[in-house]
Structure formats: structure tokens, C-alpha cells
Symmetry: C2
Subunit: 215 residues, 2 copies
DNA sequence: GTCTATAGACCGATAGAC
DNA sequence: GTCTATCGGTCTATAGAC
């Protein structure tokens, strides 16, 4: 899968740094596999119903090896959240800049909902205190969340300034309303009826979110 | 609280059925206390974090006594859901009939959100399969849910017919969107900022729900 | 031969069930 | 009040790389 820089290398003196790099690559690759598995399981079952044994089984490694990478179940979840925040940042940066802020916001909401419908959006309980403590102590998580929120917050203020978003609503309410589309149970319910495609559901909810239920 | 038919009854022959009735009343009263405690704990911690020991402690009875009333933790949760559905039915019936359907719907949404803000709305995970199985096997729950949904569904169709609700939206989507206000994390987030009163938050979310984020 | 990582048994705590 | 199952977390013996 990855090129082995140390294979067939006759010079002993240079094998030492190369070996370390190869090992580090392996570790990194496995860590990625772990976080991806955690992400998937968190989306499928949620934090409470996900067990670390399942994570180990999904990755195909021993549970003890998991604890070489992450000190606790909470840190596993935090890593998954950091991962989605990183994906969000990439997505935000890739959006074309020359469109109205309201359309940027819609694009963000669509992206979140597609992630949820694809079963790639981790779901964490807002009540678990040990999990909250771990998240709040995680610099990468807080940084990522702040950056994403700032980015979206800028569009919210711009959209309120140009009149395309209701200026009477507190920006923080708009931000939370956007975020909550990532865990909207309506998506799952509509999907379970089997009456509409994922893209239809996304457009329905974008409509209810931005234009409301009213005509 | 309830009239005790057996008190000061000198005739021994008739005390037997009366005594049974008294016992039944006591059982019923305790069952009500249990379900109310479960309701409160479900709202506070959610199903997974609520333990049966906490319920027993809250009611002030032994855990074994709980299992005389309800065969499992899932059935406790089901009883709490039946209770809120009954309260919902009462609320629906008490609404004045001579107002536009759109305002009936708004009243329903306001009632749900006030219940959540008051910490009286049980929160169940949509992933727990054993819980789902118990709910789907519970006739009282299914009946209650169907009746409430029918009642609200009638208003949705009426509101779409009179043009106050977007007729392009599937009624089931509107129903789910209304229901999801009962577990909207935006309420809790806005409450935690401490910037707005509960009633302000309710009106904000009613606005975003029916009129959307747009101006 | 040494060192590391792994697999899988194991432990303590907790919760549901009766 | 006890029994059992499960889960988060740890420990140890071993396999394999160098």
C-alpha cells in the first residue's frame, strides 16, 4: 500500500532514519484507519452504544493497540470530531468565493446533510459529562470548531447585512440552526419512508430551513 | 387526593372488594409517581444515562418494586412516552377550534418547546434497537402516536389547502419537522447562553421553523 | 539476543434482571 | 440482595523485525 523505503537497502547507516519514517507512516496510516472506523461507528450507533471492542474489530487490531494511540474512548470520539472539522474546513475553503453569502450557507447545510445521509456524521450525546470534558480539553477540537464557526459566522453577518437573511435573528441562533441540520432526525425519518431520494430530502430540508414551512 | 371508599366502613363483608380497590388506587398512585420520575430523568439524562436504580431512588421505593410494575427499563421509557402522548392529546383537545390551522400548528410547536425547556420532554435515542422494539410492541404508545399524528396531520392538510403552509412540501415532512422541535438542540444551546428568556427562545425558533432563516 | 507490538485473557465496576 | 452480562481499561506471554 505504501512504498517501503528501507527495502533492499544495503547501507546500514542510512537505514536508521528511513526505518523510523516507515514505522511512523505505518502508525499514521493505522491511526487514520482507527479514526475513520470510529467516525463510521459513531454515525451508526452513537457514542454510548459504540464499544471500543467494536472499534478494534472494525480496524482489525487488538484493543490494547488502540490504547497505544488513544488513551480513552472519549479521546477516540474527540479524534473523530477533529476529523470532521478538518473535512469541514477543507470544504469551506473549496467553495467558490464569488457567490452570495446566503448561497454559501446553503452549500454548508447541504454538505452537512449529505454527510449525515451517507452515514458519516458522528453523533455524540450532549449530556455525557466526561465526553464534554475531554472535548473541551482538546485543543485541536476547540481550534477547529472556532475556525469553522468564524468562517460560517462571517457569511451569516454578511447575509444579514445584504438582507437575504433575517437581521432580527441573533447570529448565534442562525449558527446553531445551521449546525443542528447535522443531527436533524427529520433526515433519517424521511429516508426511512423510502419515498424520496437523498437529494430530494436534502432540498426539502434546505427549503424548510431557509424559507420555513410557510408558503 | 383520591377518595378512600374503604375508610370507616364497619361491614366486614363489603370491605373485601373495597380493600382491593384501595390497593389498586395505591398501586396506581405509585405507578404514576414512577412514570413521572422516569419522565423527568429521561428529560434530564436521556435513556442511556438513566439507570433503573436512579428511578427507584427518585420514587423512594426498592428496585424490585419497580419490576412489579414494569418488566424492563424499555417499558419504563415506553410508559413515559405514553404519558406525554396523553398530555399532548389533552392539549390538542383544549385548543380553540375557531383559529386558522397554521396557528394551531404554531401552538403545538410552542407547547412542545416549552415542555422541552421545562425539562419535561423525555429524550430517547433513535438508534437503540431494543427500545424501538418495545415501543413498536406497545399498543398504547402506537395508538397515542397515531391519534396525535392524525390530529396534527389534519391541520397540516388544512393549512396547505388554505395556502398558509407550502403545499409543495410532503405533509409527512411537515409533521416530522414539527415533531423534531421537541428534541431540537438549538433550544438547549440558546438557553445555555443565558442571553434570552425561554419565551424569547420559543418565539425565535417558531420564527425559524415557520418563516425560515430568510428575511 | 533484544526490543517492540500484538493478541487475547483478564479485572473491576456497573447496570439490568429477578 | 444476588446473579450475570457487558464494557472500559490493563496485563502478560509471544511472535516477529532487526
Amino acid at each position: 500500500m505504501t512504498s517501503n523505503l528501507s527495502s533492499h537497502n544495503g547501507a546500514g547507516v542510512v537505514t536508521v532514519p528511513v526505518k523510523v519514517s516507515f514505522k511512523a507512516q505505518m502508525l499514521q496510516a493505522r491511526e487514520d484507519a482507527i479514526v475513520e472506523a470510529v467516525n463510521r461507528l459513531l454515525a451508526e450507533k452513537g457514542f454510548d452504544l459504540m464499544t471500543v471492542d467494536q472499534v478494534a474489530a472494525e480496524v482489525g487490531i487488538a484493543k490494547a493497540s488502540l490504547y497505544k494511540h488513544f488513551p480513552s474512548k472519549e479521546d477516540l470520539a474527540a479524534a473523530a470530531m477533529v476529523r470532521v472539522l478538518a473535512r469541514a474546513k477543507t470544504m469551506l475553503a473549496s467553495l467558490p468565493a464569488n457567490v452570495p453569502p446566503i448561497d454559501q450557507l446553503k452549500a454548508v447545510v447541504r454538505w452537512m446533510m449529505r454527510l449525515q445521509l451517507a452515514g458519516e456524521m458522528p453523533s455524540l450525546p450532549s449530556q455525557n459529562s466526561s465526553l464534554r470534558a475531554t472535548l473541551m480539553a482538546n485543543r485541536a477540537y476547540l481550534d477547529g470548531l472556532l475556525q469553522v464557526s468564524d468562517h460560517i459566522g462571517g457569511w451569516i453577518e454578511a447575509a444579514q447585512a445584504d438582507g437575504s437573511l433575517n437581521p432580527a435573528l441573533p447570529p448565534i441562533l442562525v449558527l446553531y440552526t445551521v449546525y443542528s441540520r447535522a443531527c436533524d432526525p427529520v433526515l433519517e425519518f424521511m429516508q426511512s419512508t423510502g419515498q424520496h431520494s437523498d437529494e430530494e430530502i436534502v432540498e426539502f430540508v434546505v427549503t424548510t430551513c431557509f424559507d420555513g414551512l410557510r408558503k
